[in-house]
């Protein structure tokens, strides 16, 4: 399903899907919840031991993996709940506050 195929609000009734069905899957990937975030996780690859806790416990599927290695954060979706940072025993994820972010800039 492509982003441009999403049915827009106030689309004429003739062009909406009957019953509000959506044919296809996973279209919420086009809805970016990253804007909800207050604090932002900063990932430090060097410290990561790939225990996968952050990945397993992320409510938003926002821990990026490549070949079974954590590679970073999907900032398009991360809501900044801080679970990943809290469960990381290796200190590889640090939550940066808005103030810190504006003072020092962030990875994002």
């Amino acid at each position: 399903m492509k982003e441009q195929d999403l049915i827009q609000p106030f689309t004429p009734w003739q062009d909406t899907t009957r019953g509000g069905n959506i044919y296809g899957s996973g279209s919420s990937k086009y809805y970016r919840t990253g804007g909800w975030r207050v604090d932002t996780p900063q990932f430090e690859a060097a410290r990561c031991v790939n225990c996968m806790r952050c990945f397993l416990l992320c409510p938003d599927g926002s821990i990026a993996l490549e070949d079974g290695q954590v590679t970073g954060i999907h900032y398009d979706y991360c809501k900044g709940c801080g679970i990943c940072s809290e469960v990381c025993n290796a200190g590889a994820i640090h939550m940066m506050s808005r103030q810190e972010e504006s003072a020092h800039g962030s990875e994002r």
Binding site: L6, I7, T17, G20, I22, G24, S25, G26, S27, S28, K29, Y30, Y31, R32, T33, W36, R37, N50, C51, M52, R53, F55, L56, L57, C58, P59, D60, G61, S62, L65, D67, G68, H74, D76, Y77, K79, G80, C81, G82, I83, S85, E86, V87, M95
Partner: protein, 308 residues
């Protein structure tokens, strides 16, 4: 098959991000884990009762579901799945469908313990090949934290507020897992989120790949309703298990198995203190003691049932 966490995380994600559950909500973590237990390439139909999960994962035209998904109403998720599963059996019988499908139904505690109990009980009793997963956050969170029969005694909710003449909810929590076990279905289990997710993953796998109905009750902490800080998801889950407020166990063919016995059973005050919904009773030792007694009694019962 031994749990290989490193392999399981590489399976394709079946719940898309971009859903609108609150930051720190446990329910999507439960969903991600349960769906990860599906074999790669296996087809599934997911049903959801009305609730937080449903209204956040399918807001037209944004669906977070990668498998076929259906929501119809609050109290009827099990009956809806029952109809799909019956249609599936018909199609298989008639040679109209080659692929195998699995049927997984999600409901919150309101949709499971309360309004959906009849439909759930009916579907389980009739033996449909389906898994029902309750993500239990202990209140009607979607409508704003009203008490349900899953709400623990003394919790402050918006319909059992603590006040000068009230200490919050007056009644103990309903034992839904016991009720489902009493249906004598092939598989019933209670689980929680753990650091390596082994418990929930393995129980999901068993539930999905056991022929016939299966029921999972998973503790799903709600930062908003329980009033704790969002990062504390794992900690609060662990305390629930270590205080024996939320034991991990399974029932197969009538046989109870305790999956985890804490070396040091923590006092229930650890569980109460971390949540704002119990703040009003923390300075009442007799109430805390009463809660401890209830937890101890239930734990003792479970030890007996599981032959410990």
């Amino acid at each position: 098959m031994a749990y290989n966490m490193k392999n399981t995380v590489q399976k394709p994600e079946r719940l898309s991000p971009g859903h609108r559950m609150c930051a720190g909500c446990a329910a999507p973590v439960v969903v991600r884990t349960v769906l990860r237990a599906l074999e790669e390439g296996d087809e599934a139909v997911i049903t959801s009762a009305t609730g937080c999960l449903e209204v956040s994962t399918f807001i037209y035209p944004y669906t977070s579901w990668k498998d076929s998904f259906i929501h119809s109403a609050f109290e009827n998720a099990s009956a809806t799945t029952a109809g799909i599963e019956a249609a599936y059996r018909y199609k298989k019988k008639m040679g109209l469908l080659e692929k195998d499908y699995k049927f997984i139904t999600f409901g919150g505690d309101g949709g499971t313990y309360d309004i959906g109990l009849q439909s759930l009980s009916g579907a389980m009793e009739r033996g449909h090949d389906m898994v029902y997963v309750c993500y239990d956050n202990g209140a009607y969170m979607n409508t704003g934290i009203q008490r349900s029969s899953a709400t623990p005694r003394y919790a402050d909710t918006t319909t059992t507020p603590s006040g000068t003449q009230s200490l919050g909810k007056g009644q103990p929590r309903k034992d839904i897992t016991g009720i489902m076990a009493a249906h004598r279905i092939p598989y019933t289990a209670q689980s929680a989120l753990t650091a390596n997710m082994k418990d929930l993953y393995e129980k999901s796998q068993k539930a999905i790949y056991t022929q016939g109905p299966a029921f999972l009750n998973v503790l799903a902490p709600c930062p908003r309703g329980w009033r704790y800080d969002t990062p504390k998801l794992l900690e609060i889950s662990k305390i629930a298990v270590d205080t024996c407020y939320w034991p991990l166990f399974e029932v197969e063919g009538g046989v109870y198995t305790l999956n985890y016995q804490p070396k040091n059973k923590r006092p229930i005050s650890d569980w109460l203190e971390i949540q704002g919904r119990f703040r009003h009773i923390l300075k009442k030792p007799e109430i805390v003691e009463e809660i401890q007694k209830e937890v101890d009694e239930r734990w003792k019962e479970l030890l007996k049932l599981s032959g410990n």
